[in-house]
Amino acid sequence: MACNPRNAFPGTVYNNADRALDLYGDNIEVDYRGYEVTVENFIRLLTDRLGEDVPRGKRLGSDGGSNVLVYMTGHGGNEFLKFQDSEEIGSWDLADAFEQMWEKKRYNEMLFMIDTCQANTLYKHFYSPNIIATGSSEIDQSSYSHHADNDVGVAVIDRWTYYNLDFLETQVTSPTSKLTLADLFGSYDESKIHSNPGYRWDLFPGGEEKGRERLVMDFFGNVQGVEVEGVGGNETEWREDMRRLEEIIYRARARGNMTGAKKSETPVEEVIAPGRDLGKGRVEGAAKIEGVEAWGQRVLGAGALLGCALIWGGASWLESR
């Protein structure tokens, strides 16, 4: 968009016709642009169904500890959002993609925001846990643009997006802001937005009550909070898991009669994510099987081959007689 030849102000994207805030900034990195933005690419990105040669910049490097924000805007309708002029993503497509993400442990919590006509229909079919969804307008409601820039020649921003951005710019002033989603959603003024925003809490553990307590910065800020170990109630839980895992490994080793299994050289990646600390500890991974019987087995194999050769030689000698 910033580099489109039609842009009267090359290299910039403004949120307002006063052109005070350049959304493009100095360090924005656009990973997918122009005709790369397709439904297929989007779903592949979410579910990580990408080839090995796809660079890290074009992947969503999230895991089970990441909080993911999905913000979509564009032309849409009842249960669909248009991509380019030729295709659209349906609400079931999104729901299934998110379920795959959950199964693959690609998010911890997700905030889904969408600004399009009849936006609230798009998150209707979500069924994966830990998702908070919100949209700009109800079914049969249009989502309006805020205002147009008459030099650029297009509407620069949508109303709902505009007031979301306004809240983030004016209220959330520091990375340590303790404002919650309740504050963000509470800032929506339907008389200004000209449509009725919708929310979905039922997928979130603890429902609306817990969801509203989530910090805005959990999703919008790249803040990596650290909690002091041993305080959380999860401590015993993961220790229990580790103990069981060790047992399983022990049993497997005993069954395979593996004596010399080495310890894994690489420890499991330590993940520090906001809200939940997975802790640290060395986990023994899979190891190469090395046994003393290896030589004995080789001798046995060579003996068997030799025996076969002898039998064959003897039989052909008998036959030639």
């Binding site: 039609r6 009267a8 090359p10 002029d85």
Partner: protein, 619 residues
């Protein structure tokens, strides 16, 4: 199926069914004509709307004004100083102006010969490459040196030059902009667009030294006035009645009237008061222009290449200045610049009855189709009649009790006894009717050849001569045929049947290409369906051939509606000079690829001739 077929088989022979086609045919014509008259009503027409969201007409500020006014005045002065100079001087000056604006100019010479006239000149154009775009697409700004009336387009050319200089300063173009000053309004644009697509006929038309990408839109400015203007007249008809995409027209209307407050008119309806009559009149004028299919402005030549084009013509005496027209062009170009794809969203087939009201093809097409179908219905009816034996002679004085001969029919394990009369089928003598119809259609090539190859001095004379000959032509042909082979009643029916069949097929096909032409030819040919005795159902001599009185009446009607007489009438009503009109038609055929003459001489005229032969009292 087994239950239905006997019923249908019985119905097939039902005399009542055979009486139906003429009424059906007349009904089709009636509905077709009424349908057309209903179109201007609010219930059947629609308000125009922008279909392509990307266009966003009138959403940008226009900055053409201020000091640009001085630039424009200077260019206008330069243009006026060129009056009376030769082509070389004009082209050199225009090239210099383009160069001084930082654009690379190019020239193209062309020369056409039609109707004994020579149309020659030179196009000068320059390409403004999109600063940040790829050179795959281009939009075109055209100003003809002289407008359609041959008057110097002084403000138009100066405006195009000033806009070229102004556009050069913007960096937001996604498509190349070509500024083209054509030598005239008819031949110049055709030569240029032909050469742009490598379709030009060398050596008379030179190839283009500079080219850009695919043309996405064309705006022609035509302002020959030396004073302020009142409103913009938008001309949109292309060659052969093809039209530009409605979105382009709507964009221009919405920008001119909505953004800049300039009144918009079309089809020379200067005062439109939104009444039924005015709407109908606008629509009929549009249809007439479409039917004739001639070039209505420099934009017309682009439309056959699927390049959407319109002409903006400044008309009247008001308070709008050239800068306002310039801003209108600027805003249209900003909209065209927004396009991601070729114009495709809106309609290509439409009839406009007001600047903001139209009917689309789905609504108006049945009208012409019904008129065309009437010929096909009658052709089928006549074919059936031609195969039916004459009715049994019934002595009126003595009702002799005589059983009709019966025959046993066996089909699919079903047996039926039917009168023998119903089963006999007359053998149809096809050779003469088919030969005659086909050869008459090829005979149309003679007037076509004469009228496109004669000089403009002799054209009116030839046409007068042709009208005179055409008056006697059916009689002469009828006599010749009668001497050779006297026509039987069956020949009569078959001849008419084939002629109507061909006419029906041609008109139905034509209706999808040039609706108006098809409808006009169809309506003027309607009497051909009802000559003869349409309401009788047998092949009897006295039934198939109408009475002498009727023949005389039909001859008179057909003579009044003969193609040459209609051409004369049109010239008289529109106050056009016949010689000019014929010269224009010849030019259209040679230069623009106009097909109207082919339809008239090879479709309509042969059908009319067959009709004339059939009602001839000599036969």
């Amino acid at each position: 199926m087994a239950l239905i077929s006997p019923t249908i088989l019985a119905l097939r022979r039902d005399p009542r069914l055979l009486k139906l086609p003429p009424y059906l045919s007349a009904l089709c014509i009636f509905i077709g004509a009424v349908w057309l008259c209903l179109l201007p009503l609010n219930e059947y027409s629609r308000r125009t709307y922008i279909s392509e969201n990307a266009l966003l007409p009138g959403q940008v500020h226009t900055y053409f004004g201020g000091s640009e006014q001085n630039v424009f005045n200077a260019y206008k002065y330069e243009v006026q100083a060129l009056v009376g100079k030769d082509q070389e001087a004009i082209s050199t000056k225009l090239s210099d102006i383009f160069e001084s604006a930082g654009l690379r100019p190019a020239r193209q010479k062309y020369e056409y010969h039609a109707a004994g006239n020579t149309y020659s000149g030179e196009n000068v154009y320059a390409i403004l490459h999109a600063p940040r775009g790829d050179a795959t697409e281009a939009i075109l700004l055209v100003a003809a040196w002289t407008n359609m009336d041959g008057i110097l387009n002084q403000s138009g050319v100066a405006l195009a030059l000033a806009l070229a200089r102004y556009f050069k300063r913007w960096s937001l173009w996604s498509k190349d902009i070509i500024i083209l000053i054509t030598g005239d309004s008819r031949a110049g644009p055709q030569a240029w667009v032909d050469a742009y697509h490598d379709e030009h006929s060398s050596p008379f038309v030179a190839p283009l030294p500079l080219k850009s990408g695919a043309l996405q839109g064309v705006v022609v400015v035509d302002n020959a006035l030396d004073h302020r203007f009142e409103s913009l007249h938008i001309v949109y008809d292309g060659i052969n009645g093809q039209l530009p995409n409605l979105d382009l027209f709507n964009t221009a209307v919405s920008i001119a009237s909505g953004q800049l407050g300039i009144g918009v008119s079309l089809q020379r309806m200067w005062k439109h008061n939104d009444s039924y009559q005015e709407r109908l009149q606008t629509m009929l004028r549009g249809m007439f222009s479409q039917g004739l299919g001639y070039s209505s402005g420099p934009h017309s030549s682009f439309v056959p290449y699927h390049v959407d084009a319109i002409t903006l013509q400044a008309v009247g005496d008001g308070w709008q200045d050239e800068m306002a027209m310039g801003r209108c062009v600027e805003s249209i170009f900003r909209s065209l610049n927004n396009l991601l794809e070729h114009f495709h969203q809106s309609f290509f087939f439409y009839l406009l009855m007001q600047a903001d009201r139209f009917v689309s093809i789905g609504t108006y097409l049945p009208s012409a189709m019904l008129v065309a179908v009437n010929f096909t219905i009658m052709a089928i009816a006549l074919w059936i009649r031609s195969g039916r034996p004459p009715a049994p002679k019934v002595a009126s004085t003595m009702p002799e009790k005589q059983n009709p001969e019966m025959e046993i029919v066996q089909e699919n394990n079903m047996t039926a006894i039917t009168p023998k009369e119903n089963l006999t089928i007359l053998e149809r003598q096809l050779f003469l009717p088919v030969t005659l119809v086909v050869s008459l259609h090829f005979l149309g090539a003679i007037p076509l050849y004469v009228f496109i190859n004669s000089s403009h001095n002799t054209l009116p004379l030839y046409f007068l001569l042709f009208t005179f000959l055409n008056f006697f032509q059916p009689t002469v042909l009828a006599t010749l045929i009668h001497r050779h082979t006297p026509l039987t009643p069956q020949h009569h029916l078959l001849l008419q049947s084939f002629s109507l069949l061909v006419l029906g097929i041609f008109l139905a096909t034509l209706a999808t290409l040039n609706f108006s032409l098809s409808l006009f030819v169809g309506l003027l040919s309607t009497p051909l369906s009802f000559t003869g005795n349409p309401f009788s159902s047998s092949v009897d001599a006295k039934d198939a051939i109408p009475s002498k009185t009727r023949q005389h009446i039909w001859t008179l009607v057909l003579q009044l509606l003969s193609p040459p007489v209609v051409v004369w009438a049109v010239c008289y009503i529109w106050g056009a000079d016949l010689g000019e009109m014929l010269a224009e038609a010849a030019f259209g055929w040679k230069v623009n690829g106009l097909w109207t003459q082919v339809v008239i001489w090879c479709v309509w005229w042969p059908a009319w001739t067959v009709g004339g032969i059939l009602v001839n009292p000599l036969l």
